[in-house]
């Protein structure tokens, strides 16, 4: 063996880790080579002397410090697992039902349809309650209408023309006025002193022109009115209602030279439309 080869084995040689036949070869070389022998002896001496350095002992509180650290770590693990309980339940459930958006959306729609169907099945009881509610609403509406009639009647008997006009205007909101309201309107048409009230009454009676009492009252009022404005409005209403019984009165008006010429002309025009 060469010196270099032997020295490569010194690390094993000093700790007596070299096996046969290498050990014998090294021994033979060391016996012949003084330089290598000296180095091997020195390295072995140092290696052996290293064993004379005693091991130091750790502090007596090493185990206590470790136990403290381990306890804190375990406590942290326990708290983490407690926090993770909810997440664990979620994870468990998601394991049973993995993400399948299309299927899950379809099931959601199915459940919605089932709910709507169930709602329809329970409809009779709810429909009954709807009818009851409708009856109550109709009753309330009737009460409000009756209240409006009372108010309208009350207003039409007031002294001031403005109040009477408000009373007449209230009648516009009535779809089915009672006989008292119609009577009050016709009375106002015949006897109210204010022209504006009488004109408003003509307009109010227009919507009830399908009733005979109204048509008859309109014809009577044409003859008794002295205001040309009201006379013209009544002629127009009679014509619009196609009231042929007013033809006689309209003829009289066309002959009466004491009337306003506009009234006569309008009567003449009305006659031509009715005849």
């Amino acid at each position: 063996m060469q010196c270099e080869e032997v020295r490569e084995q010194f690390a094993d040689h000093v700790r007596r880790g070299v096996g046969e036949p290498l050990r014998s070869e090294i021994a033979a070389h060391l016996a012949a080579c003084e330089t290598c022998r000296a180095e091997a002896e020195e390295l072995t001496t140092v290696w052996t002397a290293m064993g004379s350095i005693p091991a130091a002992q750790p502090g007596s509180d090493a185990r206590a410090r470790f136990d403290l650290m381990l306890g804190a770590y375990q406590q942290g693990l326990d708290q983490a697992s407690a926090r993770g309980l909810w997440a664990g339940v979620n994870s468990w459930l998601s394991g049973w039902w993995p993400r399948q958006p299309v299927l899950q959306f379809g099931i959601g729609l199915g459940l919605l349809a089932l709910g709507v169907f169930a709602g329809f099945q329970m409809r009779p009881s709810s429909a009954l309650s709807t009818v009851q509610r409708s009856n109550e609403i109709a009753e309330l509406r009737g009460q409000v209408a009756a209240m409006n009639q009372v108010v309208a009647l009350s207003l039409m008997q007031q002294q001031f023309a403005g109040d009477r006009l408000r009373g007449v205007n209230l009648s516009y909101q009535m779809q089915k006025p009672g006989q008292e309201i119609l009577g009050a309107l016709l009375d106002a048409l015949m006897h109210d002193a204010n022209v504006n009230v009488r004109l408003a009454t003509v307009d109010a009676l227009r919507q009830f022109g399908d009733q005979a009492v109204v048509r008859k009252g309109v014809i009577q009022a044409i003859r008794k009115q002295e205001s040309p404005l009201v006379q013209v409005a009544l002629i127009d209403l009679a014509v619009d209602l196609k009231e042929r019984e007013s033809i006689g009165i309209l003829k009289e008006l066309t002959q009466d030279q004491t009337l306003d010429s506009a009234v006569r002309e309008r009567a003449q025009k009305g006659l031509s439309e009715l005849e």
């Binding site: 020295r7 490569e8 084995q9 010194f10 690390a11 094993d12 000093v14 700790r15 880790g17 180095e39 020195e42 390295l43 140092v46 290696w47 002397a49 290293m50 064993g51 004379s52 350095i53 005693p54 091991a55 130091a56 002992q57 750790p58 502090g59 090493a62 185990r63 410090r65 470790f66 136990d67 650290m69 381990l70 770590y73 375990q74 693990l77």
Partner: protein
Amino acid sequence: MNETDENLMLAVRNGDVGKLGVLFDRHHRSLFDFFIRMTGRRNVADDLVQDVFFRILKYRKTFRDESWFKAWMFHIARNARVDYYRSHQGEAILEDDHADGLQSSSPLPGQELEHEQQAMLLECAMFKLSPDKREVLILSRYQDMKYEQIAELMGCEVGTVKTRVHRALKDLRDIFFQLSSEKPSCNVKKSGNSLRIM
């Protein structure tokens, strides 16, 4: 039944962290020995031992079925020591300064005194080695690791380990003989925070 280190560590990895206590009892002295021979500071060695076992808990999931526990533990220990010195660069704890701070204790008679002085000088020489050479000597001489195990720990070839051990041993010899010729140039200090010789 005396469980192997690897089985205990596998139990720790799988959640039975209490088993780490057995591993601590088995290995904390050798770890302390490694650290104090590397750093020369008792308090630093104590702290690093605790740090290693904390890191074992922290990284327990990385322990593989086929791992050798002692190599894995010393891998963590080496990282812990490097991290410690990286974070304490400004502090006066350099390992090379250790030998200069050693001083002799009470005198001992005859041959015993000679042996103690030899051990002190050798330890001085150890601290004058570079950390890499000191580490490879400590692992092979005091931790009784085979070269194959050191190679696994350091991630190098067995031949490389042998070469490093040989060079470290030669350097140690040179320094030791130099200190011996210069004595009394190296003293041993017996303080609470420093390595106690004998």
